[in-house]
Amino acid sequence: MRLSVIARRRVKRTVPQLLRLACIVALLALAVFATSIFYPRPLVVIFSMSIGHVIGMLAGALYVLAIVLDTIRPAASIEPAVATSGAASDDAGDREALAHDEKAPEASADTEADDAPGSKG
């Protein structure tokens, strides 16, 4: 549950970064397309039709990835521990999650020991 909180924070930070990266990559692809229109020379046209398209598809894939991450993020907030919303409560949630993670190793080690085969014998 705590890990999902951290993952949610990371996703929340990642989506805008992915979109900005997609925008930059798309601008690069558009520049390649425009260059092939204004300077239709053999290498430029070939570069535009091959690498330019790959760059453009990469931008589209980054956009789709960002939208998918943004779409699945609200599903995690249904859980009671992460039901808070707003920037201030998010920061508080981060701190709480991190503080809990510092204490967590012992508990998680116990859990793993309990779950290990033969430990209940």
Binding site: V15, P16, L19, R20, A22, C23, I24, A26, L27, A29, L30, F33, A34, S36, I37, F38, Y39, P40, R41, P42, L43, V45, I46, S48, M49, G52, H53, G56, A59, G60, Y63, I67, D70
Partner: protein, 260 residues
Amino acid sequence: MVQCGSSMDANITWLTLIALAAIVASATILIVYLVKKPALDLKMKLWLLLGLAVFPFLGAATSTVAGMEATTEREFCGSCHVMGEHFADSSDPESQSLAARHSRNPFFGGRSCYVCHADYGMYGYALTKAGGMRHVYEYNLGGYGQMTMEEAKKAIHLLKPFDNLNCRQCHTASVHDWRRVPDHEALKAELESNKVSCASAGCHGFAHPFFKAEHRPQAPILRPAPPSSAMNTLGSAAAPLPGPAPAAPRPNASAAGPGP
């Protein structure tokens, strides 16, 4: 590596205008998003869908088609320096070479290289473009880019004999004007089997005679009698050319034309 092309201009058509409009629209949306950094609500997602998917897809598709169209232009073929003499000759209004006369045709003169050298048939376009990739490879990595024109004249040759079918896309062999020429009828089997080239010294002359060092000045051109016909309208100039008597037709192995 010698840079290809120095005098080419963009050929602005409605297709390139659509491509440019899509590119500008997409770039505007993306730059506004990067500068303003708005909140990622549904409206912004839809704007980004336009800027990152719809408009770039439109721009990529139209620029690809425009690029493929640009590769059929005579200026595109002449943009590599080893084709400089071919381009200069075909652009010369005074030249009487077969290529120059075809290049003055208002219907396809701007694309005369492609129209005459492209393979004819269902997959002709794709096969020609695939062959063009070989040209690019040979020019940039095969050493042709570093050649002088004199070296290129010795090294560059057609990969396969010039197919008479390419001529007969326009100059059909079924019309009366073609059939009434005695040499056409006499050489019909050889012409169909490409054993004799239409563009040979004894027939209609080399398409690029300056590239045939052993045939300077221009080889004699056999001109058929009819002054006004559909064949002449579509193809070479109707006016007969001065020159000595026609020589015997040459085998197609020495057909004229460039191409690494």
